[in-house]
């Protein structure tokens, strides 16, 4: 199994719902708490597993605003695992999820330097690295309904821009949608083979219209209107 996410950039409106839902689930989850620094002071910050980048492409008036959620890509060839000196960082054989064993991590930050996606964050109070777990403490919970066994970000996304599934299964929803919509990996040239994929914006087909300058003046147009017999 190779579990991961598909994020549909055609419909992501950048609302941060996924990020906050992730925060609340994981704050009280397997790697919780997630600290907040100066939560009521100047320049508040904290540990988040999922952050939304906003940027623009093109120039006015043909610019496009892009909202780009980023979290751990659960790479097949994860350098963050290779560089970890304590073995805390590991990739699970059974489902490909990359996790950090909080008992082994010493917070050396090697993994965050190795990760080009900015997925790993240091919890300054515990001195350990934290990151997206794909809600591993939720997706295998046999005591909740099957439809709820998904990462919090996927369950909550109001635009249904996030999908979760097994990329090893060619018939899974994620595999199919990546095939059909030409889903892509972020920075494939780096060779980490990320599991998560992004779907590019759809292209809308032009609507057939007949443009023509109508040169008749007002009087002419009024004359053209003929009453039709429409009975109520």
């Amino acid at each position: 199994m190779r579990l991961g996410l598909v994020i549909d950039l055609d419909v992501c409106v950048g609302c941060h719902a996924c990020a906050v839902s992730c925060k609340q689930w994981n704050a009280s989850g397997t790697t919780g708490a997630l600290p907040d620094y100066q939560p009521y002071g100047a320049e508040p910050s904290g540990v988040w597993f999922n952050r939304i980048r906003h940027f623009e492409v093109g120039s006015y008036p043909n610019s496009k605003t892009v909202n780009f959620p980023m979290s751990c890509m659960h790479c097949e060839d994860a350098d963050c695992v290779t560089v970890c000196p304590t073995g805390a960082s590991y990739k699970r054989a059974e489902d490909g999820i990359v996790l950090i064993d909080q008992d082994k991590c010493m917070g050396c930050n090697y993994c965050s330097w190795a990760c080009p996606y900015g997925a790993r964050e240091l919890d300054r109070s515990t001195g350990t690295m934290k990151k997206c777990t794909l809600c591993v403490d939720r997706i295998y919970d046999q005591n909740i309904p099957v439809e709820d066994r998904q990462p919090a970000c996927v369950l909550t996304c109001p635009a249904h821009a996030r999908m979760f599934g097994d990329f090893d299964d060619p018939n899974s929803e994620v595999s199919k949608v990546v095939r059909e919509r030409e889903g892509y990996m972020l920075l494939p040239e780096l060779g980490y083979n990320p599991t998560n994929h992004y779907l590019p914006p759809r292209k809308h087909k032009p609507i057939p219209v007949e443009m023509s300058a109508d040169k008749t003046g007002l009087a002419g147009k009024l004359k053209q209107f003929v009453n039709r017999m429409v009975k109520r």
Binding site: A17, A19, G46, S59, D137, L155, P158
Partner: protein
């Protein structure tokens, strides 16, 4: 080997369903509690509003529940200290209620209008309005006057339902969606769910907005219009549709007043009114019978076009002929509006033609049998799948009423209303046009002591006689709603209350109650001046303030709380009973009438009471008739008891589900003592799904209207004919022209405004403020919007949401900035005719070139909202409000007039024009700065440098109480 990953300990958890209140969306939530602490808030999969999803605000409810800004005891301004100094003393609830009861008793027994009660959040207007009506004051409204009344009123005077929230796009079947000026707002989850459905189905999404953020980011086409020009753009689309004869002839003849005959008699009192028969029925010309017939009836063949002569010799034209004459004029040709709108003519024409193509060439037919109000059976419904939604960008201009009507014109021409794939009504709408409810305007009743009003304070005037003015023409309401200054102000003008009350214009108040509204900060125009007004003493009454007694009801320590004489601390949404009622603003969707409740999920750990409870308590103490038994004892034990047992009319109460003694009736039925439990057992909402034959064309759908009539949504089963031409508007215009048979204004300013702006057909005019401001000196339009993760919430207090944004910037077009030598993070001065501010700049591509904008309500006063004084919101964040005046620029010989739409009284936030220039080196930080608000005596909250919230750990938030 790695440790096995533990899952949740469900044995320690409890799951409850309620309704979110992090914004105005009212989504269903599934709350997991871990031994009383909030573990996880999710969307409720079964809920009609959000269908399982939840936005950032909803998910951050935990941090609201444990906010450091929570009020915890009733407070009174410390004797001998000045208002606004922030010195308070704790008092008991008994003391607080005694003080307030005594004060209110005296007002009610002398001059009830001296109480004004205005509410910010307005999801319980059915109760607050009833309370004000029972008290006997006309001075009540919610925040709609400074929010979106243009959308509500334009819709309700035109199509019988409206943008805002009495209608919704039919996302399942729409093929073309055009969004007008929606600032990341309203209907937050439903719009996101809908946009994805639309795009998945291959529909096209066009956004008309000067700024490309949020929803607009994913639009297939962005139309970066100049602010305030939407009405002109829409009327140009009307021009294109008319000139190509692209309109739904059947729809116009059957369901609109396009065929009605308008009297052409300039200079006379009947000019511009409909030709009516002896019974008052509007007349049309029947092409078959060649005579005038009743335009409401069936069996007629009305002429859509033409000039006619009445039997008495008066000249007549059909509404549609009047429209053709006006909008086919070259004034509205795309080429002639392109420069003003900032949109190429080709784009305007193409969008009009695209809409027409989708409406007529890609229409949908469902084989659904339905019967219309004339008894005619139809074997299908036809859907013109062009959907629209419009909000703040249209609404917040002083030409917004007409702009919104212009948009409804496009929908009517295309026949794209309340059918599959277009813009559909949500019960209890559609209603008659306008709804049959008039505001109380009987002077004797309003002035009578200890007397309830005979009608609600708000309603829908249809003629000058319905205005709420005295015999001399002076306003009877403190906000001057329903006066000549704003005749159709059906949500009141909350933004004028403090100014008018301070100026004792039209009269002085005694007590102002503000519920959940930050009028001393981001909810007021002209913030600094408003704060000064709140502090202003009355030289004629020693020691008294101009507004003598100010009661603030809120759950959190806002800037407004700082100015209170009496603070009544409210509960959070997870701590109280609430109902989201069909009598008010329900959660209905086009396919279902629906309402919802909240109930206490966690016990409050502070000495706070729900405002609903306090209102019922006060109503009982003051012996309001509806709250008192014949023997003088109180009728309702508490709020839940009131909700179950109060009946507006027999069988119709606040909650429509599980009515009847056995709980087996819906919409109508006698009270059910177990109704709350029934809601709780059913995930806190009720939905009545309309059968197929009652889903569409509700405005003339007999089977739907029969149910609607029985449930009290409408008075009787009759067709609701959409109104291109608005006769109520014409009646006010006649009054302005001095031609009306009835009340007429005396002030030349009113005459001019009525004559110009009460056009019965939509027109575009330059926004009022801009007519009086030099565009060369102030070259930029200035706008605000709320970010999605804080829309309709004041969540800078929220430890998680403020991490997404704790400082706002002023955004402007990158090329324009470069031309002016400005770059990212420069500190700039921004000046308007009303004042200046200093703020930090960011440039972007997705911003119309003549526009600057910022995120509203991020800026906070130091010390407010439980934040530390050094919070970025206070040091770097800013409000644009300082630049906006609640009054139009002064004009010689004219009284000061509200900066609002002249029809609806909608606050004209977006009419602002500014100039900007780089601050001097060394000038940094936002300006103006205000003194830090003092900590409340009850505020013992710890503000830790590091927060580690974990619902499983008992003691990690020990400073929460």
């Amino acid at each position: 080997m790695h440790a096995r990953i533990p899952t949740e300990d469900h044995a320690r958890q409890e799951v409850k369903y309620s309704t979110c209140y992090m914004c105005a969306c009212r989504c269903g939530i599934k709350v997991t509690l871990q031994e009383g602490k909030v573990r996880f808030i999710q969307g409720n999969r079964n809920h009609p509003t959000n269908q399982g999803v939840l936005c950032a605000k909803g998910s951050a409810g935990i941090m609201k529940q444990y906010s450091k800004a929570r009020l915890s005891e009733p407070l009174i301004r410390k004797p001998g200290t000045d208002r606004g100094a922030g010195e308070f003393e704790v008092i008991s609830w008994e003391q607080a209620l005694d003080i307030l009861t005594q004060r209110l008793q005296e007002i009610r027994a002398t001059d009830p209008s001296k109480l004004a009660f205005f509410t910010g959040r307005d999801q319980m207007q059915a109760l607050t309005g009833l309370w004000a009506q029972q008290f006997g004051t006309p001075n009540w409204a919610a925040h709609g006057g400074f929010c979106s009344v243009n959308m509500a009123v334009a819709g309700l005077y035109t199509i019988g339902f409206s943008f805002w929230e009495f209608g919704a796009p039919d996302w399942d079947y729409a093929k073309y969606f055009i969004m007008w000026g929606v600032a990341e707002d309203h209907s937050s989850n439903p719009i996101k769910i809908g946009l994805e459905k639309l795009k998945r189905g291959g529909g096209k999404f066009v956004t008309v907005n000067p700024v490309r953020t949020g929803y607009s980011a994913i639009a297939d086409e962005w139309v970066p219009i100049k602010p305030g020009m939407d009405g002109l753009f829409a009327l140009s689309i009307v021009h294109v549709l008319l000139s190509r004869e692209l309109f739904d002839y059947e729809f116009l003849v059957n369901y609109t007043n396009a065929t009605w005959l308008v009297i052409q008699n300039p200079g006379h009192s009947d000019d511009g009114l409909f030709l009516r028969d002896a019974n008052g029925q509007p007349q049309v010309w029947d092409l078959e019978r060649e005579t005038f017939v009743n335009g409401i009836e069936a069996g007629i063949t009305p002429a859509l076009f033409g000039d006619f002569v009445a039997q008495d010799g008066r000249r007549l034209k059909t509404v549609f002929s009047l429209m053709a004459e006006r909008y086919l004029d070259e004034r509205y040709a795309p080429a002639n509006v392109a420069a003003e709108c900032g949109v190429p003519a080709e784009t305007i024409e193409r969008i009009a033609l695209e809409m027409a193509h989708v409406a007529f060439k890609e229409s949908i037919e469902f084989p659904i049998e339905w019967t219309d109000t004339w008894g005619r059976k139809h074997d299908k419904v036809i859907g013109r799948p062009v959907a629209m939604y419009a909000m703040r960008g249209i609404s917040a201009h002083s030409n917004g009423f007409h702009a919104c009507r212009a948009i409804h014109f496009i929908q009517m021409l295309l026949g794209a209303l309340d059918g599959p794939g277009n813009f559909r009504a949500r019960a209890p709408y559609p209603k008659p046009i306008p709804p049959h409810q008039l505001p109380e305007n009987n002077v004797d009743i309003i002035n009578a002591p200890n007397t309830s009003l005979s009608r609600p304070p708000l309603g829908f005037p249809t003629r000058p006689e319905d205005l709420v003015i005295d015999e001399r023409g002076n306003p009877l309401r403190i906000d001057k709603a329903y006066s000549w200054e704003a005749p159709l102000s059906s949500h009141g003008l909350m933004h004028m209350v403090i100014t008018n009350a301070t100026n004792h214009d039209p009269y002085a108040l005694d007590t102002l109650i503000l519920f959940m509204s930050n009028m001393a900060w981001n909810s007021s125009m002209n913030t600094q001046a408003i704060q000064d007004m709140l502090r202003q003493k009355d030289p004629e009454s020693f020691g008294e303030y101009k507004i003598p007694f100010l009661v603030v009801v809120d759950a959190f320590h806002s800037e407004m709380v700082n100015f209170a004489d009496l603070v009544l601390p409210d509960t959070t949404y997870l701590e109280r009973h609430d109902c989201i009622s069909l009598l008010d603003r329900p959660i209905s969707e086009p396919d279902a009438a629906a309402d919802a409740i909240r109930y206490p999920l966690v016990p409050p750990n502070r000495n706070v009471r729900p405002w609903q409870e306090v209102m019922v308590e006060l109503a009982s103490r003051l012996k309001f008739p509806a709250f008192t038994n014949k023997d003088g004892t109180r009728k309702f034990r508490d709020y839940p008891d009131f909700i179950v047992n109060y009946e507006r009319s027999p069988g119709v109460g606040f909650l429509s589900g599980w009515r009847g003694k056995d709980g087996d009736k819906f919409l109508k039925g006698e009270p059910n003592p177990n109704q709350w439990q029934a809601y709780i057992d059913n995930q806190s909402f009720f939905a009545h799904h309309w059968p197929d034959n009652q889903k569409y064309m509700c405005f003339v759908n007999r089977d739907y209207l029969e149910v609607a009539s029985d449930a009290g949504f409408v008075g009787k089963v009759e067709p609701i004919i959409m109104q291109f031409y608005s006769e109520p508007m014409q009646k006010f215009r006649l009054a302005g022209q001095g031609l009306y048979d009835g009340p007429q204004p005396k002030d030349p300013a009113d005459k001019e405004r009525l004559t110009k702006y009460f056009d019965p057909l939509p027109l575009w005019y330059e926004p009022l403020e801009q007519q009086r401001v030099d565009a060369e000196e102030y070259p930029f339009y200035a706008l605000t919007q709320r970010p999605m993760f804080m829309y309709h919430s004041w969540d800078s207090q929220n430890a998680w949401l403020r991490q997404i944004m704790a400082q706002n910037y002023l955004y402007m077009n990158a090329r324009k900035a470069a031309d002016m030598g400005l770059k990212d993070f420069d500190w700039v001065w921004v000046e308007s005719r009303n004042g200046k501010i200093r703020c930090q700049l960011k440039t972007m591509e997705g911003c119309q070139e003549n526009t600057v904008w910022t995120w509203n309500a991020i800026g906070k006063q130091k010390g407010a909202w439980g934040l530390k004084e050094e919070a970025s919101e206070a040091t770097k964040g800013f409000l644009l409000n300082h630049l906006i005046s609640e009054l139009l620029p002064e004009r010689n010989g004219e009284r000061r007039i509200t900066n609002s739409d002249p029809v609806s009284g909608q606050a004209a936030w977006f009419d602002l024009r500014v100039k900007l220039y780089k601050a001097e080196t060394g000038e940094s930080g936002s300006w103006p700065q205000f003194p830090a608000i003092k900590r409340l005596p009850t505020d013992h909250y710890e503000r830790p440098d590091v927060l580690r919230y974990d619902a499983r750990v008992e003691d990690n938030d020990k400073a929460q109480s």
